[in-house]
Symmetry: C2
Subunit: 445 residues, 2 copies
């Protein structure tokens, strides 16, 4: 945990943005895999961790905006608990670490929040993607209506990262970098994707952390969410690795590298790799406070399109191609997302609320519709910049059969790249007061 | 998956035990860790897997007991799904593997089950410990009332393991055995518990499987549910490892071994180890069809008590000591549980329903109250036999301060074992037609 002052200050800032009522934060519980005693590894709720720091199951917290009271609800352990489990916390000690003065047994939470005890008071809470938390809110409050006011205040606060948060993200990236290095050196012909994954997971565990999302380790980078690891690496395969870990305080890293298997890239791989890298550098250069991330995305699209026109895979005016979405045959996803205590930071609040806000609307155009973050960037935001070029046989066949964007795409030339695979390069970027900074010890690209 | 016939036969057997109505089986979905796109590793619902075999998220199945219709509900994939994910199944192909003829899109499940389409019909379902499944049942049916009739029929059927199920459990044990061997050879002074765990997890992943529960790897075996791994092994420590994995078809192994760190057991460790081993062998010898598992448990308690009396740690009449529960200071848990597609097989239906049935009631006596399985054993049951002896400082202090069972316990002698730790030995045992058989390639003990 950080110093108690950090959590206290965060709560003061939040309180100052809100009006009256009560704020309820749920900490996460352990989730049964199949039965109650067999649970998935614990992950704390990100907002609870942000405001209270505690990384243990079974807590909740209440902030009374009118009286200024803060109460941490947790378990008071019995002798029986102590026989069965080790290193159990004492509730007041944990509260002190959060900078909270009052504690109550978690069993009292429902009665504390009841209409009898809190007549005519509004209880603010965020929205949750975990079903158990949704159910718990319903059970505690008799209804489930996430507070937009609270959510927006949290988004504003958590979007701008403080020094200690940036330090955590950089630590995670640097540790992940050492694991990328090991993965790269393991990428030799005859090895299975799963062998590389297992080695990476072992190194991650030995670094006393865990992945912040299901890693992608694949010679089929063109399948964007590839979570199978059955292929054996062959010479000249492209190996795409998308991987991140948690820092000590729960902040995520998220990087992608694409390696050649066995030796250097083939000439056509080098061509495409250079385009992706140029697009990434162009997008990073575009990042600064005040620019919309939509325009950072479009900068990468333009860069990719210009490059593909040079290679005669695309044709026509690059600006027009980007506006009509022709490039999305090769780059069908968004340039990136916010990064913090979640890999897609705060996404459980709702993707559009995080990435578009009130002032913007998500496009329905293929490709652009997958852009998670479009709104104006501000100092302190940490975002991923992750362009890619992919040759997706099913999509090529579909578009060609429909004659889609044939003024911008040379389908004859595309056919030669049908089995190319995919290349993505991803780094984590801080929006500084005048531009941007790539975070962490550089991971070779 | 097994042959389709196996799943079909299982469903026919189940149908024959039930009356009228509809049976609804939910397959599991992917659970968000924090937001929807970031999920925990998938684990299929055990009953769904038992009757349909499918090990992918997003399915459900309906059996119409009146018409004999069986319908598999799953996702019909769009081109967009195929761009983002790989190796997507076609619904009719999967249904064929389950031996099911009819399929429907999962989006139609709610309307299919609606009162309009199924007027006055009873929809049977089991109970779930996963909150998302509870919510889904409520959403689909407008209420959540697990069918006792269905649950009992499933318990009866799943309790007796078939040949192919026993084969699976034995395969899991044999693979786990090779990992125990690696763990034992890693248990040298200076190594951390987490180093051994990480090595075991790596070997498990390389064997293309995963642990069936959170492993225990600890020099503090006296803390029964020990899920921390921070200690460094010292010479003469006792290292307790409780570990199991899934077989290819999802059946669990569950074994415990206690090793000496660095060299042979010290004389007093050998004394206690021998008692635990004798208690385990005595309990295994007692296992046969018709005996209550409560009596198998008591056989182990008696064996432990007699041994501790020999060592002058306990005193008095061993039968009386066991009846009053004095031995539970050293053996505070039950002798074991059923094993199958879950480590605690079918425990989400309710511990008492599985382990006690209608005819027996759970004791409230300390120790005995933790016995998960008490009812009569039948041929084909697979159970764990896992006695242990522990010296738990908090519990010793509590009992001694209360003068509890002082006619049976030599607290002076116990004080000398205060920092001893704990020893447990666990194997998986099949109830045969005349007695029992320890499953799997023997793991040295």
């Amino acid at each position: 945990m950080f110093e108690p002052k950090i959590y206290k200050d965060r709560r003061v800032k939040l309180t100052n943005k809100l009006g009256k009522g009560i704020v309820l934060f749920l900490g996460n519980s352990l989730l049964p895999i199949d039965y109650k005693a067999n649970t998935y590894p614990f992950n704390q709720d990100d907002s609870f961790r942000y405001y209270f720091g505690i990384n243990e199951p079974g807590f909740a917290a209440v902030m009374d905006l009118d009286t200024g009271d803060e109460i941490l609800f947790g378990k008071e352990h019995s002798i029986n608990d102590k026989i069965w489990s080790r290193d159990l916390y004492e509730l007041p000690e944990v509260a002190e670490l959060s900078g909270v003065c009052k504690t109550k047994n978690i069993s009292e939470l429902k009665s504390f929040l009841s209409k009898g005890k809190q007549p005519n008071r509004l209880v603010h809470h965020v929205s949750y993607d975990r079903a158990d938390n949704k159910c718990l809110i319903n059970e505690l409050l008799g209804s489930y209506t996430a507070s937009i006011k609270l959510t927006k205040a949290i988004i504003e606060q958590r979007s701008a990262k403080s020094e200690e948060e940036i330090f955590e993200i950089e630590e995670a990236i640097s540790t992940a970098g050492t694991i990328f290095k090991i993965a790269k050196s393991s990428a030799i012909p005859g090895i299975k994707e799963s062998d590389i994954l297992n080695r990476m997971l072992y190194e991650t565990a030995m670094a006393e952390t865990k992945p912040s999302f299901q890693p992608i380790v694949t010679v089929h980078g063109e399948t964007l969410h590839n979570d199978t690891y059955n292929n054996t690496l062959k010479k000249n395969d492209l190996l795409l690795i998308d991987f991140g870990i948690y820092s000590k305080e729960g902040y995520c890293s998220d990087n992608t590298r694409t390696y050649s298997v066995g030796e250097d890239f083939l000439p056509e791989q080098k061509d495409i790799y250079s385009l992706v890298l140029q697009a990434q550098l162009d997008a990073i250069s575009a990042v600064r406070p005040g620019i919309r991330n939509l325009d950072v995305h479009k900068r990468a699209c333009l860069s990719i399109t210009e490059g593909l026109i040079n290679l005669k895979i695309m044709k026509g005016n690059p600006h027009d191609a980007v506006e009509t979405g022709a490039h999305a045959l090769f780059f069908p996803h968004g340039i990136g997302h916010m990064l913090g205590l979640n890999t897609h930071d705060m996404e459980s609040f709702g993707e559009d609320l995080i990435g578009y806000g009130k002032e913007m609307e998500r496009s329905s155009q293929f490709g652009l519709s997958s852009l998670r973050l479009a709104r104006e960037l501000k100092e302190g935001f940490v975002i991923t910049i992750e362009p890619g070029i992919y040759f997706i046989p099913q999509l090529i066949d579909l578009w060609e059969s429909e004659g889609k964007h044939k003024d911008f795409i040379n389908y004859d030339k595309v056919a030669k790249f049908r089995n190319f695979g995919g290349i993505r390069i991803e780094d984590d970027v801080l929006v500084t007061n005048s531009g941007s900074r790539v975070l962490g010890k550089p991971i070779p690209k």
